[in-house]
């Protein structure tokens, strides 16, 4: 079973959740996916999704960090 953690600044709507879950399931049909939704205002916006060690952080904060690092 794979856990997917989804962190966001604001709560996702149900539609969004559905979309996401469906999409992921389609990508990993064999797996049993578990979705955990976290509310993290400090992300400021966007999503930060981690799954089995892989992370896809598209949050605004992440981008800010990147910016900060470039400075």
């Amino acid at each position: 079973m794979l856990q997917i953690t989804i962190a966001s600044a604001v709560a996702l709507s149900d539609e969004q959740k559905k979309k996401l879950e469906t999409g992921m399931q389609k990508k990993h049909p064999q797996e049993e996916l578990s979705f955990v939704y976290q509310l993290q205002p400090q992300l400021l916006g966007g999503l930060s999704v981690s799954m089995a060690g892989k992370l896809y952080d598209a949050s605004v904060r992440a981008r800010l960090n990147q910016l900060a690092a470039k400075l």
């Binding site: 966001s8 996702l12 969004q16 999503l47 400075l71």
Partner: protein
């Protein structure tokens, strides 16, 4: 005019007696005294002359020694001066070197500190900038934009993960 032999003879004897008396009682002692005195004076003068010569000799020796001594003294003085000067110079140089080293160290530290400060400042500015951006963003992103963002990203997420 009358010339009497007896009288002449008498006067001759008379003179003879006076001559004898004066010679024996006056001339001999006085001349001896004068002679002795002259010899004493000559001896004294000779002795004085000798003393003068010795004195001159001593003077010359003294002069020579004095000159030598003063030469030595001068040499010592010069050596000492030279040494002192050299030492002073060495000390001075050392001091200068130290000073320069310290200065450099100081400058280096200063520069380091400045850099660090700068970096800190940079860091702070960055932080401040990010914080500002955060704040701004936090406030600028309203609910609609949030949803929009999320929507966009969902697809990407699905794609990447």
């Amino acid at each position: 005019m009358e010339i009497q032999l007896t009288q002449i003879i008498f006067q001759i004897i008379n003179f003879g007696v006076v001559l004898g008396a004066l010679t024996y009682f006056v001339y001999k002692p006085v001349l001896k005294l004068l002679n002795d005195r002259r010899e004493k004076v000559a001896a004294a003068a000779a002795a004085a002359g000798e003393v003068m010569q010795e004195k001159e000799e001593l003077e010359r020796v003294r002069e020579k020694t004095l000159v030598k001594a003063s030469q030595k003294a001068k040499k010592i003085e010069d050596d000492a001066k030279r040494e002192a000067r050299e030492q002073a110079k060495a000390i001075l140089d050392q001091a200068k070197a130290e000073m320069t080293a310290r200065e450099n160290k100081f400058n280096a530290e200063l520069t380091k500190m400045k850099k660090e400060e700068l970096k800190k400042n940079e860091a702070m500015i960055k932080q401040a900038a990010v914080l500002m951006a955060e704040k701004v963003l936090g406030q600028a992103i309203d609910a609609k934009k949030h949803q929009k963002l999320i929507d966009e990203q969902i697809d990407q997420v699905i794609e990447s993960l």
